[in-house]
């Protein structure tokens, strides 16, 4: 999970390292009232969040001018390469990557994400849409899905 929260392998290693250090230090706080894996996962998410907050002060998110409609593509029979998909997530701008991961992979709601990331729900939804757009573009460009032109109404 460190890989898809990070923009690079080095960053993933840093999150991994920070997370495990914190786990070792705070393991006494684990009360056993939930799965250990979930508790550890939240530690890693927190580490990724902290890293995101530090980086977000200096990272400019490019504006997306080209939006892709939900109906403009369909999946292909291409072999899904997991490593490549993780690479696509890693290439997202940090804010989009964080929102996408929290929403699509961790299952947080926009309301929760707005609290976690100190953004409005609208911003969270917008960032998610833009993240999806970028990812879909990458899927198309790399042949994972086929672009299907739909006539405008």
């Amino acid at each position: 999970m460190c890989c898809y929260y990070a923009g690079s392998r080095n960053e993933a290693d840093d999150i991994f390292q920070d997370g495990f250090i914190r786990i070792f230090e705070k393991i006494g706080q684990y009360k056993g009232d939930g799965p250990l894996g979930a508790w550890m996962r939240r530690i890693f998410v927190n580490c990724a969040l902290e890293r995101y907050r530090k980086e977000s002060r200096i990272t400019l998110v490019p504006e997306m001018n080209e939006m892709i409609s939900d109906r403009e593509y369909e999946e292909t029979e291409s072999v899904i390469n997991e490593k490549a998909l993780m690479g696509f997530i890693a290439e997202l701008p940090p804010r989009y990557r964080m929102v996408f991961n929290l929403y699509a992979i961790e299952g947080y709601s926009h309301h929760e994400i707005s609290g976690i990331m100190e953004i409005s729900e609208g911003t969270s939804k917008s960032n998610l849409a833009r993240a999806r757009t970028i990812l879909q573009r990458k899927l198309i460009n790399n042949g994972f899905i086929r672009h299907r032109k739909v006539s405008s109404i």
Binding site: M1, C2, C3, Y4, R9, A12, D13, F16, Q17, F20, I21, F24, E25, K26, Q29, Y30, K31, D33, G34, A38, W39, R42, N46, L49, E50, R53, K54, S56, R57, D70, R71, Y73, E74, E75, I80, E82, K83, L85, M86, F88, I89, F100, Y103, A104, I105, H111, E112, S114, G115, I116, E118, I119, S120, E121, R132, L135, Q136, L139, F144
Partner: protein, 474 residues
């Protein structure tokens, strides 16, 4: 299933299935980091233990040196024809007494040992007391001249008590033979092997202060004292609060490290009693990790058991000000201090961040100090203290803090401007010199009054402290 969900599912499945081993260096780094922290903790413990050991050894060594060699802080007294009738007391060391020679203009007097010397320049030599064995009898062979070997004859002196300069002391009357011997020794440049006497009215330093004009030990009258203390502060919990705290995941409060410092003056009011007063700056407070928060107007409120904290809204979306999000908290939420919602199972917490509420008071104490044990001990004396104080609220600040930084976020509401409390302490004073002592003092402070105006909040802060300081005796 929509394409959006297809995209999400595609990446979710890939994320679940994807496995990548961490770099081998990552494990080494973790090990190094954890080891480093443990080493630092171990270093702190060891260095603290070493410091305490060194202090104990130092005091012990000082005590032994003083006990066995009489190497005490010395007092220099001018010895001139103008004050030739000066009387002073103490047990000088032989090396100190070398200063008392014919023509010498000053003599060095050790504080810790007693001797009585009646001094007029020609007579000081004659009447100076020679250290003799504790049985008070100087054997004849000890009167042998060190150069000639001749044994002087004469009667042993008696040791009658008499009153001199209004102070009771014991004088030794020298025989003619002793006087001749001393004079011979002095003229030979061997100094004066003074004969000891046993003053009966010495103070704890072994010095008869009254016999030394301008030089007093002063532990009988006024003294000023300054100290600073490292402390742990928290508050007492009412039964219901303790129950709530035990059950609620939100009541994750704790005490915190604090401090106090004070300046005092004291005066002896009876044999072993002193009355002390002055001013103390004492800092109380607590730390809280999970709290309730809500927005009201332009203020953002946090709630802890010590009362609400009103914070000013921060407009900037800055991670360093995580409670400033006006988009989220339009109603009370259980939140974490990193602005994330508290999860359903309450197991998620951010141990790095904590709200610190500090309440600083200027306290005006009235303290009764009891001197305990053997106050004639030359090195250490012990005291017990108890008293009350009136406190004036001097600082009310709340911070958001992690291990490295803290940010001021606001003030705790509804604090009383005044408080009333009590102090108990027991300590020791190590007498560095005749007038200066170092003090070590564990103490406990407790506020009798709740410092909150809110009738639902019974907030009685307390503080355990270990203080060090200095006492100057006039």
């Amino acid at each position: 299933m929509t394409n959006r969900h297809n995209t999400d599912q595609l990446f979710r499945d890939a994320a679940v299935a994807y496995r990548e081993k961490p770099a081998p260096e990552a494990w080494a780094s973790i090990e190094l980091a954890l080891g480093g922290r443990h080493r630092r903790q171990r270093y702190l413990v060891l260095s603290s233990a070493a410091a305490v050991l060194i202090l104990l050894l130092g005091f012990g060594a000082g005590y032994l040196v003083r006990s066995f060699t009489g190497q005490n802080p010395a007092v220099l007294l001018p010895l001139t024809s103008q004050n030739s009738n000066l009387f002073f007391s103490g047990y000088p060391r032989p090396m100190d007494l070398l200063a008392i020679q014919s023509g010498a203009m000053q003599t060095k007097l050790s504080v810790g040992q007693a001797v009585s010397v009646t001094a007029s320049l020609p007579e000081v030599q004659q009447n100076a007391r020679i250290p003799i064995p504790k049985d008070g009898i100087m054997p004849a062979n000890r009167l042998a001249d060190s150069q000639t070997g001749m044994v002087l004859s004469g009667e042993e002196s008696s040791m009658p008590a008499e009153i001199g300069n209004g102070v009771q002391k014991t004088e030794v009357k020298l025989s003619q033979a002793e006087k001749e011997y001393q004079l011979r020794q002095m003229m030979a440049g061997n100094g004066l092997p003074l004969r000891h006497s046993a003053p009966v009215n010495l103070n704890s330093s072994g010095v008869d202060a009254e016999t030394m004009p301008g030089k007093t030990t002063g532990r009988k009258s006024w003294a000023v004292e300054g100290d600073v203390a490292a402390a742990f502060t928290y508050r007492t919990l009412q039964e219901q609060e303790a129950l709530y705290k035990a059950r609620s995941p939100l009541a994750s409060e704790s005490g915190m490290v604090s401090w106090n410092a004070g300046l005092y003056a004291s005066h002896e009011i009876a044999g072993n009693l002193r009355l002390k007063s002055g001013v103390t700056f004492a800092s109380y407070g607590q730390g809280t990790t999970n709290i309730y928060a809500w927005e009201e107007g332009v203020m953002f409120h946090l709630n802890s058991s010590s009362g609400d904290i009103s914070t000013v809204m921060h407009e900037a979306k800055d991670a360093s000000k995580p409670i400033s999000n006006d988009n989220v908290y339009s109603e009370p939420y259980r939140i974490l201090l990193d602005n994330s919602m508290l999860m359903a199972d309450y197991s998620l917490s951010n141990p790095e961040l904590k709200i610190i509420q500090r309440f600083d008071y200027l306290e005006l104490p009235l303290i009764l100090q009891v001197q305990m044990g053997n106050q004639e001990h030359p090195l250490v004396s012990f005291q017990a203290e108890g008293g009350v104080f009136a406190g004036i609220l001097a600082g009310n600040r709340a911070f958001l803090a992690n291990e490295k930084e803290s940010w001021f976020i606001g003030n705790t509401d509804d604090l009383r401007p005044f408080s009333l409390g009590g102090i108990l302490s027991a300590g020791a004073q190590i007498h560095i010199s005749d007038v200066l002592s170092a003090a070590v003092k564990p103490e406990f402070r407790y506020s009798f009054m709740s410092i909150s105006r809110n009738p639902n909040i019974q907030y009685h802060p307390y503080q355990f402290a270990l203080g060090v300081g200095a006492v100057y005796h006039f």
